[in-house]
Assembly symmetry: C2
């Protein structure tokens, strides 16, 4: 039988009330310093651990947040460009710092909505973070949660309506990367789309075109990989050289195959600009510049809003915000 709050009270000649207050740091002008110390000592001595189920029962709170991913955590290669693991990891870390537990839920998108909702609800958590869910699924999911008054936020994907979400501004970020090369004096810039998921390719193309046009340059045709994987990326890189023989710089939509593209292009004096996860970008030799996914900011913003929401008496106005990537220039 585990030590309980009553045991500690008896052992120290105090009451469960006092112990509870000490435990929760609410002993401002309540518990006498001497008693307080005695209680603290007993807690340490007997290795007391508070029973979270009992606390949850009383407080009507689980002190746990559900981190929900679409499908399975290991079948997410296509989302590499979205910093999937980084978002999950950072959100979990931030929640932990705030004293919350993390319930991991892999939600099968093939499930009908009612069944999906049932699974969400069964998790019994105080709120949900939907990481990189397809926009299609989000509206109904978030709506269902709102209906049940369960705070929920989309992380990584922007969604229409009165929902809360935090996402990466792919368009603006890609534009910034492009501007960086333009500022370096390059003019013949080609966008190389090697992202197997193509989820944000359109946004990136808009960013690219805006940057080019702002300098009075006509955008060049985008070259997209046909096959997936390293070979597809290589072929696309070579195709880019054929399509635009005098190319001066190449903008990658996805760092996934940056090192491979670099190798395929070696010998050519052109500048590479990456986009996405830092890991693969760092493998490049010589180093390249890249637009780094703001996973930290995105996850933190989502978590902070969610926790405020949970604590608030009324649902706060929805959080809807896009973050820019940061330019990483190892040479600088």
């Amino acid at each position: 039988m585990r030590t309980t709050i009553n045991d500690i009270a008896r052992l120290t000649g105090t009451s469960p009330t006092a112990v509870s207050f000490v435990l929760n740091g609410k002993d401002h002008k309540r518990v006498h310093p001497a008693k307080r110390q005695a209680i603290l000592d007993a807690i340490e001595k007997y290795g007391y651990r508070r029973n979270m189920a009992a606390k949850g029962l009383t407080m009507r709170r689980a002190f746990r947040i559900g981190i929900c991913v679409a499908g399975r955590l290991d079948q997410t290669r296509v989302l590499a460009a979205a910093g999937h693991y980084g978002l999950v990891s950072q959100a979990a870390a931030r929640l932990h710092e705030s004293g919350y537990g993390i319930a991991l839920l892999q939600l099968d998108l093939a499930l009908p909505l009612p069944e999906a909702c049932r699974r969400l609800v069964r998790e019994d958590v105080d709120g949900f973070l939907f990481i990189n869910f397809p926009v299609m699924a989000l509206d109904r999911l978030l709506f269902s949660m709102a209906e049940r008054r369960i705070p929920a936020i989309s992380v990584g994907a922007a969604v229409e309506g009165a929902h809360s979400w935090v996402a990466i501004d792919h368009e603006r970020s890609f534009e910034l990367g492009c501007i960086h090369l333009l500022d370096a004096g390059l003019r013949r810039l080609v966008m190389l789309d090697t992202d197997a998921s193509r989820v944000s390719s359109e946004a990136k193309r808009r960013g690219y075109e805006r940057a080019m046009r702002a300098r009075g340059l006509e955008p060049l045709p985008t070259v997209a990989s046909v096959a997936s994987g390293a070979r597809g990326a290589c072929d696309a890189a070579r195709a880019a050289l054929e399509t635009v023989p005098d190319v001066e710089g190449i903008l990658l939509t996805d760092n996934g195959h940056a090192a491979v593209v670099q190798m395929a292009l070696s010998g050519r004096a052109l500048r590479l600009m990456g986009f996405g996860d830092d890991g693969p970008a760092r493998e490049c030799d010589p180093p390249i510049s890249w637009m780094s996914l703001p996973v930290h900011s995105v996850a933190d913003a989502a978590v902070d809003h969610l926790l405020r929401w949970i604590d608030a008496p009324e649902p706060p106005p929805p959080l809807q915000r896009r973050f820019d990537c940061a330019l990483i220039a190892p040479g600088a």
Copy 2:
């Protein structure tokens, strides 16, 4: 206020006992079929959901298992060859099927043991799965859990002592892959070590050498990549060609850069045998054979044992088992 078991009892003119029994499917010869149906209907009609905190309080169980990873979930590139995400994902899926919730915990290995234990204990779960933890940390961690009578298993890493673990037999699996090429009539086989973590390189080399010697062949020197990443793998592949000009087959210790190695070797008529995650292996063109990580078997075995352990009155004898990789031969 959420509907409770008492509400359902009152609404159906029965007792909380009856509702509880129906809820838990223990109404064999207990609840009258008519009442049973009425209860079921009311549950559906009023959208009753059982309060897991209350259940947990009564049953002294959390119905939740902690999935614990070393460091952060997104800083695990080195563990690609260990099928890290696959193990996490499959364990989570299996637990979910068994009605358990998943508490995700990223344990910082830099933490001193007492603090690490405190964090583990705070999770309040019924048991732990330590996924791909470094062997160094495992003994003390598992021991601490045993001391506190919390069931815990190492998944992916074998550990000395009386602990439970399930792992991949890298040595035997690599031997099997090697035998496959030998059976195909190849003789000049070289092992190419492109695994940045080198965690299981030694075991693989033993498997390779055993297979070679069993055929009366002298093992050839292993070629290891110097730099990390795609470029390192490429360089290593070319080095292999120089070291053993008449090489007939190359055994990769890690599928991570299989496609890249294949490209670097294109033009040479030699056979490639991969090892590790299926994802990168499938990107190869033409397709290669590879030894596929038994993440499914490993995770399932661990979960099943853990759940039995939790339900058992006495701790069962430790589970210690290695699984072989399966040969995937797309051409067949």
